[in-house]
């Protein structure tokens, strides 16, 4: 049932009991059934016994439906949100040589909800936080400033 055609990017949010090996259960499910993970973030939900995962994946409608159902089938999974109206954000950290045009970089960061967060003798580190697509844009725009290292957080999302 690997249907490559009509593969769509999807964000799936999963609420799980925060217990040992729960993350492996999720990732094993994806690898075992041949589903993609583009990004995955996980953190405990404050003041509860649950954690929330945000998984960015892709697949045909049928594959996404199976992913949702198979996730539900795992015993420690409380809820799966898929195909919801979501607010989605991602963070990226980028390191530039200080010899680049720092004021231009700072201005760009500003346009993407970001700023310079660290300055050392030879490097600056910037952060931006925006929708994943906008983060893509930012990263392609700053290529000309010779970024030395890029870290993306993966998307987090919350249904409206």
């Amino acid at each position: 049932m690997t249907e490559i055609e009509n593969s769509e990017r999807r964000v799936v949010s999963v609420i799980v009991v925060n217990e040992a090996s729960v993350l492996s259960r999720i990732t094993d499910l994806f690898s075992g059934r041949g589903y993609n993970i583009t990004s995955l973030t996980v953190a405990p939900i404050p003041d509860s016994k649950y954690s929330r995962l945000t998984i960015v994946t892709s697949g045909s409608v049928r594959v996404i439906e199976q992913i949702t159902k198979q996730l539900h089938k795992l015993i420690p999974v409380l809820r799966v949100y898929e195909h919801c109206d979501l607010v989605e954000k991602e963070m990226a950290l980028v390191k530039f040589p200080i010899t680049e045009n720092v004021s231009d970089i700072a201005a760009l960061c500003d346009a993407y909800n970001g700023k310079i967060v660290n300055v050392s003798d030879d490097m600056i580190i910037t952060m931006v936080a925006d929708e994943p697509k906008r983060v893509d844009n930012f990263l392609s725009m700053v290529k000309r400033y010779n970024p030395k290292e890029i870290v993306r957080s993966g998307a987090v999302a919350l249904e409206r």
């Binding site: 040992a20 090996s21 075992g32 198979q70 539900h72 015993i75």
Partner: protein, 565 residues
């Protein structure tokens, strides 16, 4: 009460009403075995291999409808058991498998007989646990039994480090299971059920597609009633043999790769598939795009993930088959059985054109004849298990099944070596029935060490070896699809199966004629000890009909017609 982790395991098994545990001791599980030694509430059956312990527990669970229990040690004990876990997972068999683990202080140090057991079992169990504190044991074991048996059943693995079985803690088994995240849905949506029944009433050529889920949910007698009242023809999957009796006038036969011509044609021609506890496995559907192409689909299953996984369901109904079929029976008055008269005739014509049969031979024994003959001689008195291969398909095709839980075979995983230990489990669950294991000369050698268990524990399984000196099913594919290059499937070099059985204290027969077979079977039943009946059968017999892998159901290779003499 304050007791050790090992004692907790015993107390939990007793509280769950377990009467038989299959297992094999070893270092990390010794504390528990010490407690087994001290108790008298349940039997422990020592198999001679951990894989066999799990298969025996599967057989026990299939025949009894209860949760099967197996116990093994860490490391190789556990890895040997993995095939059994995977087999139970594929066939939705409720098991609790308890393994020992190295002490907590040694986990992660590559200790002697250490392996990441829960890491390995995660993908082949319904759920698993590593117990890190004895105070969790009562809750974990109670959840394990609950999860194994509820919803879509399956194996649950509980891994317990040695120091946890030694630890003293409070044990209270009376607390009910509280799993906020696991609540199987058993009642079908009444509106969906009503709509489905309306669709059936409107259909011209509806077809019941009966699956193994019916047996798991103990719904066979409700399904028999539904079929009788609607008079709609029915096909069974391999796993569903025995849901309807073989002589039910509405049962066509098994469908799928080795299904009957009429069953596969009915599925290809139907305008409404009524799937009950079946999962549209590739061995059933053949080429998906051609499967029941013009039909609507009603799909009743307790596992939402099975619905619309492979074939889109027009009427999805999530629920326990038994509960849903009962609800369907309430609407049965709106269905006029005479409406499907022409459809029944069409199917009867299919069956007349290419009946499920084989060519008898006067000189040599045909393997199908053996299955048929056992059916004639033992019929309802026998419970049937099989190994995997040609003999398995012949058993499914030709045995006259009369009741659910009469049939136990490794369907999903197709595990050679399953049959004999499973038959021991079946026998221990249903001692009043004769336990027959149809096997092949390939399969029986995977787990023939269980002769020792069967002799010791007086489990008189009759193993009927359909001996063609080949790995027959692979040989059949090689003959048909690999230009007769019989690569590594010739099993001409064989043990003396009679002596092999006798060496363990069982009884053996080698049979080359039909008369000898009848005499051997009669003798084995009378002697009531574990037996091998080595039946020399036609070497190059193929299982027919056959839908080649990936082909359409209606494109079957058929039994060649013989000229009438």
């Amino acid at each position: 009460m304050q007791i050790s982790g090992a004692q907790m395991v015993i107390e939990a098994l007793i509280a769950e009403g377990v009467d038989t545990v299959f297992g094999y001791p070893g270092g990390a599980i010794m504390n528990v075995y010490d407690e087994i030694y001290k108790q008298t509430d349940f039997h422990h059956i020592l198999t001679r291999h951990e894989q066999a312990a799990v298969h025996a527990a599967e057989g026990y669970a299939k025949a009894s409808g209860k949760v099967g229990v197996a116990m093994i040690t860490s490391g190789p004990g556990f890895t040997n058991a993995v095939t059994g876990l995977a087999d139970a997972y594929m066939d939705s068999i409720p098991l609790v498998v308890i393994s020992g683990q190295v002490p907590m202080s040694l986990i992660g140090t590559d200790a002697f007989q250490e392996i990441d057991a829960v890491g390995i079992s995660r993908s082949c169990t319904k759920h698993n646990y590593l117990v890190t504190d004895a105070s969790d044991l009562a809750r974990v074991l109670k959840e394990a039994f609950y999860i194994a048996a509820s919803g879509r059943p399956g194996p649950v693995h509980v891994d317990i480090p040695k120091d946890v079985t030694a630890q003293i803690a409070t044990f209270d088994y009376s607390k009910p299971v509280e799993l906020e995240t696991y609540k199987p849905h058993t009642k079908g949506n009444p509106r969906q059920v009503k709509k489905a029944m309306e669709a059936i009433a409107k259909a011209k050529r509806p077809l019941f597609y009966l699956g193994g889920g019916i047996i798991n949910s103990n719904a066979s007698y409700e399904v028999r009633e539904l079929v009788a009242k609607t008079q709609i023809p029915a096909v069974e999957t391999f796993m569903a043999r025995g849901v309807l009796s073989y002589d039910d006038p509405h049962l066509i036969s098994m469908l799928g790769m080795h299904g009957s011509y009429a069953a596969n044609m009915a599925m290809s021609e139907t305008d409404l598939v009524i799937a009950l506890g079946a999962r549209f496995d590739d061995r059933v559907t053949g080429k998906l795009s051609e499967f029941a192409k013009n039909a609507g689909v009603i799909h009743v299953d307790i596992d939402p993930a099975s619905i619309s996984k492979l074939v889109n369901a027009d009427f999805p109904i999530v629920g326990d088959v038994r509960s849903v079929v009962k609800d369907m029976l309430a609407h049965v008055g709106n269905i006029n059985p005479s409406r499907y008269e022409t459809w029944r005739e069409t199917i009867a014509n299919f069956d007349e054109l290419h009946p499920l049969t084989f060519h008898e031979d006067t000189d040599r024994i045909k393997p199908q004849w053996v299955v048929k003959r056992v059916g004639e001689l033992l019929g309802d008195d026998a419970n049937i298990t099989t190994d995997v291969g040609q003999h398995q398909m012949w058993a499914a095709q030709f045995y006259p099944f009369t009741r659910p839980r009469q049939w136990t075979s490794s369907g999903g995983l197709g595990t050679m070596g399953f049959g004999f230990p499973a038959a021991m489990g079946v026998k221990s669950a249903t001692p009043d029935k004769i336990s027959i294991n149809f096997t092949g000369d390939g399969s029986i050698l995977m787990n023939c060490q269980e002769l020792m268990t069967a002799v010791e524990k007086k489990l008189p399984v009759i193993n009927i070896i359909l001996n063609n000196n080949y790995l027959g099913m692979v040989r059949q594919w090689q003959t048909l699809f690999y230009d007769k290059r019989h690569s590594e499937t010739d099993l001409s070099v064989q043990p003396d199966f009679v002596k092999l059985a006798e060496a363990f204290g069982g009884i053996g027969y080698r049979v080359t004629t039909k008369e000898e077979f009848d005499a051997a079977l009669k003798d084995a039943v009378e002697k009531n000890i574990v037996a091998f009946i080595d039946v020399v059968v036609e070497r190059l017999e193929n299982v027919m009909p056959m839908v080649p892998s990936g082909g359409s159901l209606f494109n079957m290779m058929l039994l060649e017609k013989k000229e009438k003499k």
